[in-house]
């Protein structure tokens, strides 16, 4: 029976196995038989046994016991055995195996074999898995073959040399002279190999690159020949004459023309010719055009040529083939910064690609659209982006919201548009926005003073519709807390006003407080808003008082602490409630600890014993009669009962401007049990007719304090 059929028979049996276990059994038996065969003397079946082993290897089973067999077969005088041996070497031996060195000698011999097919096997194997050591050993042989052999061998030697140069870059010098002369060959295979080799040499060695710049005219000629020649059946692919060679030449010209005026000039005409004469209806032509565009954009081309290149990309965007659309967008992305205006002309098509089915195309279209946003097109482009957001794939949402916010910030034509846009995003994709969105939006709303009524109306409506999107709910609560009075007034210029009673507003806030969907942070916002409303409404202050006192025993520590503070405001510091909760003013609003109040910790008086005094300085501001110091404890569980706080009267009512004076208020802290304390200090004051407040948190007191 023929050995080859035995191989196929084995394959059939393996495929017929019904379970993994059965397959393993068959393979174990076969491998045992193969091992036995390997040990026997040459009986003419060695190549087929190795072939069987290679099949088994491809299925994922270990086959290292075949390595030595590969070495033996490669050394065989029979071509069919050599062939399988070399195949085995490429599959089972890589440069990390010691056995690979053993074949170096065989390869060396085979490189000078009388049969070109044997030479070919050696070249192929060396070019596929040759280690650095093997490459060093055999490089001179390869160089010899580059110079004196037939085209069949030359083309392979060239590519083998490419591999050698990748492994041992210094050997590039060895191949440079031979590769230069290869450019005058007519055989396309040899030319292709030569161009690939020269590209590799030039990329690694700037001197070689200099040398080969002289070859530019020759390369241009070859290219012209390909583009303008008539139909050549041997190399024609979809109407393009040898697109593989054209693409490689274009790539080499790119490397040669980069940063070099002379070389770039020499190819300008050629590139224009290729761009206009290449038919892009099939992939082959598009591949050539694509490479042309890459080359135009990378070398020093004249502007007309650049525009032509961008237009090619624009045409690609309209191509039915999705691959070509994707390639086009990848290229446009690379040049959108440098050739912005040229790319803008294709904005419409790019935006259309947002609706493509393919997620990678969508992503590219999104990135390009964001890069193309400008003051001129912001309104129309934002419409498209918001539309995209409502149906975009989940993995792109965060990127989209981020991009939309950045664009809105840079180019918003009006504050109202800006607020509307952000609200739209929060309603559509509020779960995928960055953390800073909430404070940023609050800041934006604060500064848009004429829109407070409009904004609070919009946010109120959004809140009663849906309380699941945390970012939106937080901003809505804050806004209602700040501008609730505008809501209750029942009139608004910019939008239809709501007719709500105080109870309705409090209902909305309480729903947020009680909902299991609300995060702790959101609840905090809702509670604070409720508290703030106590100074903006007239009838339901008692209701607010009761809400606040309920949350004084809430499990959530943050919320509890807040509620306790607000309770305190109601009970002991009611006279401070208005100033503390009044509308946040413009000016240095810092929601983080810091700002001008850092002076709080300057001038610490460490008096021995159990009391501490703090000096509050507020340079540069005039304090009006509303100056108040308001301090609370921040602690892990409850306000520590052992600690007593006594606030003395401030030394004055007014702090002169420009650092010309200070007001000192002493606070005595009695901490007999020496518990660790954190405090939050809030200062309310009037500055230039604005009521301001600053907050700072003291996280630790210096240790010798107590």
């Amino acid at each position: 029976m023929s050995p080859s059929v035995r191989l196929q028979e084995m394959i059939r049996v393996i495929r017929g196995a019904r379970t993994q276990g059965e397959e393993r059994g068959v393979i174990q038996r076969e491998c045992a038989a193969i091992r036995a065969q390997f040990r026997q003397a040459d009986n003419g079946t060695r190549s087929h046994n190795l072939a069987k082993l290679l099949y088994v290897h491809m299925l994922g089973y270990p086959a290292h016991f075949g390595q030595m067999e590969c070495v033996r077969l490669i050394a065989s005088p029979r071509y069919n055995e050599k062939r399988v041996g070399y195949l085995g070497a490429m599959m089972l031996l890589d440069e990390k195996q010691d056995a690979s060195l053993l074949i170096t000698n065989s390869i060396k011999n085979d490189l000078s074999h009388s049969s070109q097919y044997v030479q070919s096997l050696a070249l192929c194997t060396l070019g596929c898995m040759g280690s650095a050591e093997m490459c060093r050993d055999l490089a001179p042989e390869i160089d010899r073959l580059l110079r004196a052999s037939n085209s069949y061998i030359k083309k392979k030697a060239a590519l083998c040399a490419v591999h050698i140069v990748r492994k041992v870059p210094e050997l590039g010098e060895l191949f440079t002279p031979a590769s230069r002369s290869l450019l005058s060959e007519k055989n396309h295979g040899v030319l292709h190999g030569a161009v690939v080799l020269i590209t590799e040499l030039c990329e690694r060695n700037p001197e070689t690159l200099e040398q080969f710049r002289k070859a530019v005219p020759e390369l241009v000629q070859i290219m012209k020949g390909l583009v303008m020649s008539g139909y050549s059946p041997e190399h024609n692919v979809a109407g393009i004459s040898d697109p593989f060679l054209q693409v490689r030449i274009l790539r080499l010209l790119r490397i040669l023309g980069r940063n070099n005026e002379t070389a770039s000039d020499a190819v300008n005409d050629l590139l224009a010719q290729v761009a206009t004469n290449t038919d892009s209806s099939k992939t082959a032509g598009s591949a050539v055009l694509y490479e042309t565009v890459l080359t135009v954009m990378d070398i020093k081309s004249e502007s007309g040529l650049r525009v032509l290149a961008v237009n090619i990309l624009g045409r690609f965007l309209l191509n039915n083939d999705r691959n070509i659309r994707y390639i086009s967008m990848t290229s446009l992305q690379k040049i959108v910064q440098t050739d912005h205006n040229a790319v803008q002309r294709h904005r419409g098509t790019i935006v259309d690609c947002l609706k493509d089915q393919d997620a990678s195309v969508k992503r590219r279209a999104l990135e390009l659209s964001l890069a193309l946003v400008s003051a001129v097109n912001i309104r129309s482009l934002m419409k498209e982006l918001l539309l995209f957001l409502s149906s975009c794939p989940p993995e792109l949402r965060a990127h989209t919201t981020s991009g939309i916010f950045n664009a809105a910030e840079r180019y918003a034509p009006s504050q109202r548009w800006h607020i509307d846009t952000i609200l739209h995003v929060l309603t559509t994709a509020g779960g995928d926005v960055r953390d800073e969105t909430v404070p940023n939006l609050i800041q934006l709303i604060t500064t848009a003073t004429e829109l407070h009524c409009y904004t609070v109306h919009k946010l109120y409506r959004a809140l009663i519709a849906d309380i699941s999107v945390q970012s939106l709910v937080q901003v809505a609560c804050w806004c209602i807390g700040e501008y609730g009075d505008l809501l209750l007034r029942g009139e608004c210029e910019e939008t239809e006003p709501v007719q709500v009673a105080e109870d309705d507003v409090l209902d909305a806030l309480e729903t947020v407080l009680q909902s299991h969907m609300s995060s702790p942070a959101t609840r905090g916002f809702a509670l604070t808003a409720t508290m703030k409303l106590s100074t903006r409404i007239t009838h339901n202050v008692d209701r607010i008082r009761s809400i606040v006192s309920i949350y004084g025993s809430c499990i959530d520590v943050e919320l509890q602490q807040r509620a306790v503070e607000y309770n305190a405001l109601f009970k002991k510091y009611d006279h401070m409630r208005y100033p503390a909760l009044s509308t946040t003013a413009l000016g240095p609003v810092s929601s983080t600890a810091g700002g001008d109040l850092l002076d709080l910790l300057g001038g610490l008086d460490v008096t021995p014993g159990e009391t501490r005094s703090y000096h509050v300085t507020r340079p540069g501001k005039t304090l009006g009669p509303n100056y108040r110091l308001f301090m609370t404890f921040v602690s892990h569980s409850h306000p520590p009962q052992s600690v007593q706080l006594q606030m003395k009267a401030p030394s004055g009512d007014v702090i002169p401007a420009h650092g010309l004076g200070q007001v000192t208020q002493t606070v005595l802290l009695n901490n007999p049990n020496k518990v660790s304390l954190k405090m939050r200090v809030r200062v309310c004051y009037t500055s230039q007719d604005f009521v301001c407040q600053d907050t700072v948190q003291i996280d630790s007191f210096p240790s010798p304090a107590w």
Binding site: S2, S4, Q8, I11, R12, R15, M58, L59, G60, R78, Y79, N80, E81, R83, V84, L87, M90, D94, K96, S115, Y117, L123, C124, G127, C128, M129, S131, Y152, K155, K156, L159, C160, V162, H188, G189, H192, G193, E234, H235, V237, D242, P243, F244, L245, V247, R251, T283, A284, A287, Y290, L294, R322, N323, R325, Y326, I327, Q357, D358, A359, S360
Partner: protein
């Protein structure tokens, strides 16, 4: 090109050609992950994807996926043409090639690939030349066989 993989719709590997040195373990891991990624793609999606730091070009012909990993400077569209050229060569050699041909004659599929690509680059851009060389090599292999069985290797 760094490597080429051929696999079926069920994820069974039919051919693997590696042009970069990697351990068996790494090859298996890459194969497993890439096969999963490509099989998860929907039919309407484009043939290119970014995977790790490589570009991957793939195309499905009947029940077989042809998948190549290329470097960043390589041209994706011409890689599609390379894949297509290889399929054409197989088709001419086997006569209307199908997956079973490649399963039962895997070593021939490799021989054809090795006559077309060397070190990951195209050796000859003429279909005719590549086919002729394979034909000649097959004849040489026949002459060299110790037994006297004669096969027609060209369908």
């Amino acid at each position: 090109m760094q490597f080429m993989l051929l696999f079926s719709r069920q994820g069974k590997l039919r051919l693997q050609k590696w042009y970069v040195p990697l351990s068996d373990k790494e090859k298996k891991k890459i194969t497993r992950e890439l096969v999963q990624t490509v099989l998860a793609r929907k039919p309407k999606m484009c043939s290119f994807l970014e995977w790790r730091d490589l570009k991957v070009v793939y195309k499905r012909y009947a029940s077989l996926y042809f998948c190549c990993a290329i470097e960043n400077q390589d041209n994706e569209l011409i890689t599609l043409e390379i894949i297509h050229r290889y399929v054409e060569l197989l088709d001419k050699y086997f006569g209307s090639v199908c997956e079973l041909d490649i399963i039962f004659n895997f070593e021939k599929a490799y021989f054809i690939l090795d006559e077309f690509l060397l070190g990951g680059e195209a050796q000859d851009t003429s279909k005719k030349n590549v086919l002729k060389a394979i034909e000649q090599a097959d004849l040489l292999a026949e002459e060299n066989r110790p037994r006297q069985f004669f096969f027609s290797l060209l369908s």
